[in-house]
Amino acid sequence: MNALILAADNVNVAQNIAFGVIATVMIFAAFSVVTTKNVVHAALYLVVVLAGVAAQYILAAAEFVAVSQVMVYIGAVMVLFLFGIMLTRAQIGKEEGLNNKGWQLGIPVALLLFGLMAYVIVDTFEDQVITEVTPFPTEGIADQVLSPFLVPFLAISFVLLAAAIGAIVLARKD
């Protein structure tokens, strides 16, 4: 089915190839995050996944969200994770006991969930083709945030403030 669509006109082949390459790298890295035995390696694989997500955003014509993803996730959240790993004194190198005793239970749960979601997604959007990607202007986001979504925006600023103060209070020594 995919090869047929790739050969059709009015479909951007370069975009499809880029999508496939990035998606493969992302899935491999995400799988490594949940299977590796080294906590620091897991954090570094997570960087690959987050960068891949940013690249997919650019493919989907969402540049502003992609830049935010790079700044917030790769810039801030990853540093936070590495600090968390270092401050909880993870072993350097391989570590046993990173998994729960009944970790095999996760495999059927994840496979069942994926089967269900894949069935629903393919059933609903089977032959919907995105022919032309029109870039969205970044002003549009500003217009949306500052008029219809203003109240959630203010709420989010309070949540961030509360989270910052709460994190300081929780992590303080005394």
Binding site: N12, F19, A23, M26, I27, A30, V33, V34, V39, A42, A43, L46, V49, L50, V53, Q56, Y57, A60, A62, V65, Q69, V72, Y73, V77, L80, G84, I85, T88, R89, A90, G97, N100, W103, L105, G106, A110, F114, M117, I121, V122, F125, E126, Q128, I130, T134, F136, I141, Q144, F149, F153, I156, V159, L160, A162, A163, A164, G166, A167, I168, A171
Partner: protein, 99 residues
């Protein structure tokens, strides 16, 4: 390009994240798996914005990014506090609240 591509990729990432949350014992690793799940949802929001040619999905994705940043900050602070009190962040040892 096919709309299904983005949604299936997001579904794969989501399921890998769910597996990580179930399987991992280290609290920091569970937080990383939660990041995978949040990113999968964000990818879905962007894909639907593209499919419907509607920019509201981008705004939602930005809000989810902000909430995720707050969640990681508070989560790691809690993990640090637990580590300071118990010298361990293994989740199966935190069973005081068992009924």
């Amino acid at each position: 390009m096919l709309a299904v591509n983005f949604l299936l990729l997001a579904a794969v990432l989501f399921c890998i994240g769910v597996f990580g949350v179930i399987a991992r014992r280290n609290a920091v690793m569970v937080l990383m798996s939660i990041e995978l799940i949040l990113n999968a949802v964000n990818l879905n929001l962007i894909a639907f914005a593209l499919m419907n040619n509607n920019q509201e999905g981008h705004v939602f994705a930005l809000y989810v990014i902000a909430i995720a940043a707050a969640e990681v900050g508070v989560g790691l602070a809690m993990v640090l506090m637990i580590y300071r009190n118990r010298k361990s962040i293994a989740l199966d040892e935190l069973s005081e609240m068992k009924g």
